[in-house]
Amino acid sequence: MRVNPNPLPDLISAIAQTQQQINTDLEQIASGQSINRPSDNPAGAALLVRNAGKTAETDQFLRSASGISGGMQNADSALSSVITILQRAISLGIEGANGTVNASDRAAVAAEVQGIQSELLSLANLSYQGNFVFAGTATQTAPYVLDSTTPSGVRYVGNSGVNAVTVGDHLAVKTNLPGSQLFSAAGADVFQAIQDLITNLQSGSNIDAAVNEVSNAYHHISAQRVFYGNAINQLSSQQTFLNSQTTQLAEQANTIGGADLSKVISDLVNAQTAREATLGAVSKTQQTNLFDYIK
């Protein structure tokens, strides 16, 4: 049988193959990825595209949730101040309703309640990052303006719009309570109650009724404030969920496209050994032929 007298091309192609393996291994070690181009694993590359899309979305949900949460905490602390000063208004009312208080003292109390009125106005016109928080969706103008022609002394120029922002798959969180629902609700109008308290303190009549009104408003605001508390909690648990989702997605991406370093390194060592063995074979091959022995 005649054999190929020149095995060198085969050996060189074997060297090229092991070199290719070495290059692939080195690339994987350097990048930490087993998929460095779509052809490395087409199905895996497609999965990585979806994974990257989902990861970007999750990261964005986290940013949005944290932004919304910040705004809501701001609104919540404003409402907490509202509640505190309404409590003070109530105790001032009770003080004024006491039969032993004379007219001039009542006038002084009324003046103090007027101070509360303007504090309330400022809190109801709270602005956060350029938006009026309690204006519904009419966030670009202050929702409460002074207006002596109305019984409450203020006019609500906001709307009843509520925004909801998507912060998860099929999860949209309402981000605001409009002033119409908070401060100007029928039967629990904060400004009306305070105005009535001032008027009645000044006149000295029906102060108890006015205190009752303020108390109603106080309870209403306290009840409404729960919305912010709940929403903040919901956002916080959603953030926890999103964070764990990010971790999961990263793990998934690593499973799909991460390089198994211990395997790659052992492959590399094998390829290097194979390369050296082939090189050794090449250097030993056909050092002599029959011509060397013909004398």
Partner: protein
């Protein structure tokens, strides 16, 4: 009855034949590293015997010819596989370049689409904010730029492939011309009864080269070969070669003509086949998928825009310039420059985010051929990767087959120095023996001559 002189002639024929055989060995050794060289073996035959007085006397040996050792079937298998390899080589090279567009980077289409939707979600948290609105326009611009870049690169690649097709046609013409000339020389030599082995080697070598460029069928005829493409277009017939030509079509790519017929779509193998496949099928296929994605996304966004209101309370207008019927990816661009014109509001009030939410919802809606934009894009990445991976796998397989065939060819036709050394010894010894015989005949003649003198 034979004479001493006849014996001398017989011995001399041995001397000459062995010397001739040694020529073959010498030539083989000299060509040990010549690509495509087939080793030669001397073909020796006994000369016609003479019959005298019922006795048959041999008249020595004749070196009839030096024959190149080759296996025509192996040659043809190698040519076939070389075509496949040329085709796959061109395909792998082109697709490797193509897929760099779809390697995940910060600027790729998938990332740009993600960032666009991210910016809308961010805007939704504060819909009246002008800087967030500007971010949406910037992100939309980046989506357009990513599509434009990928499309430009693919078009540039097609242009390069076009130039490469033209070059390859030039090489093919050169080769067919040389093969036709060799046909002529071989036929001349054969007609004169000479050994055309070296020229056949050269021709085989050239046909191998031609096979790597285009699909070739080799039809041996008498002393020459006829070459056609697998679909029957004549390339070489005897001593005539048929030149291919190129001509621009209306879309600006080169078509390949043979004697006035457009054969572009009939070239399926060899490097030219691979180049044409990438130029005319693979890349246009990817481009059309990118167009579908760009158009689907832009139209859906524009439609939602139209259903909402901008920051000034006016009805929303197109965010992207409406994509043309073809070439959406190449021309995708943002129509708005004023960030207040992003239609985030669903009721005309600046602080409302209803329409921003509707825009955001597009991220997970089946707006591109029944798939979400990201899923559709991942499908493109799969297709590109898969085409490239398949071509690479086929190439490795073809490499192995070709290597094996070349091994076989070398085992038949390759020059073995050991064998040549052994042959050389054989011829040398035979030459020496014949010389010894001549010397003996000489002394016999001396004996006869001396006999007369004494």
């Amino acid at each position: 009855m034979s004479s001493l002189n006849t014996s001398l002639a017989t011995a001399l024929s041995g001397l000459m034949a062995e010397q001739g055989a040694l020529e073959a060995t010498t030539n083989n050794v000299a060509n040990v590293n010549t690509p495509g060289y087939s080793r030669q073996v001397p073909v020796m035959v006994t000369r016609d015997p003479v019959v005298q007085d019922h006795l048959t006397f041999g008249t020595g040996v004749k070196l009839e010819r030096l024959e190149s050792v080759r296996d025509a079937i192996l040659d043809s298998q190698i040519q076939q596989e070389t075509q496949t390899q040329g085709h796959l080589g061109a395909l792998v090279a082109a697709l490797s370049e193509t897929q760099t567009n779809f390697t995940s980077t910060t600027g790729d289409i998938g990332t740009a689409i993600s960032k666009f939707f991210d910016s809308i979600n961010q805007l939704s948290t504060n819909p009246a904010d002008l800087s967030l609105r500007q971010n949406v326009l910037t992100a939309a611009g980046n989506v357009g730029a990513a599509f434009n870049l990928a499309s430009t690169r693919l078009t540039a690649q097609r242009t390069n492939l076009d130039a490469s097709a033209q070059q390859t046609v030039g090489q093919i013409n050169q080769l067919t011309k040389q093969i036709a000339q060799l046909n002529q020389q071989i036929s001349n030599l054969q007609n004169a009864g000479d050994n055309p082995g070296t020229f056949i080697d050269q021709r085989t070598q050239l046909i191998d080269q031609l096979s790597s460029l285009i699909d070739v069928s080799v039809i041996p005829t008498d002393n020459t070969v006829t070459l056609t493409t697998s679909s029957g277009t004549a390339l070489v017939a005897g001593q005539q070669s048929f030149q291919l030509s190129t001509q621009l079509d209306s879309s600006g790519v080169q078509h390949i003509f043979s004697q006035g017929t457009d054969i572009t779509s009939r070239i399926v193998s060899g490097q030219l086949g691979g180049v044409l496949e990438t130029r005319d099928r693979q890349i246009p296929g990817i481009q059309s998928q990118l167009d579908t994605l760009a158009a689907g996304l832009a139209n859906a966004v524009n439609q939602v825009q139209a259903g909402g209101f901008d920051r000034n309370g006016n009805a929303g207008t197109n965010l992207f310039n409406p994509p043309p019927a073809s070439g959406a990816a190449a021309s995708l661009s943002v129509a708005l420059t004023d960030p207040s014109l992003v239609a985030a509001s669903s009721d005309g009030i600046a602080g409302d985010n209803g329409n921003a939410e509707a825009l955001y919802a597009l991220r997970n809606q089946a707006i591109v051929n029944g798939e979400t934009p990201t899923d559709y894009y991942s499908g493109i990445v799969f297709n590109v990767g898969n085409a490239s991976a398949n071509a690479k796998a086929e190439q490795s397989a073809s490499d192995l087959v070709l290597q094996q065939l070349n091994d076989q060819r070398a085992s038949v036709s390759g020059v073995s120095l050991d064998q040549e050394a052994a042959n050389m010894m054989r011829y040398q010894q035979a030459y020496a023996a014949s010389a010894q015989v001549i010397s003996s005949i000489n002394s016999m003649m001396q004996t006869v001559i001396n006999m007369k003198n004494s």
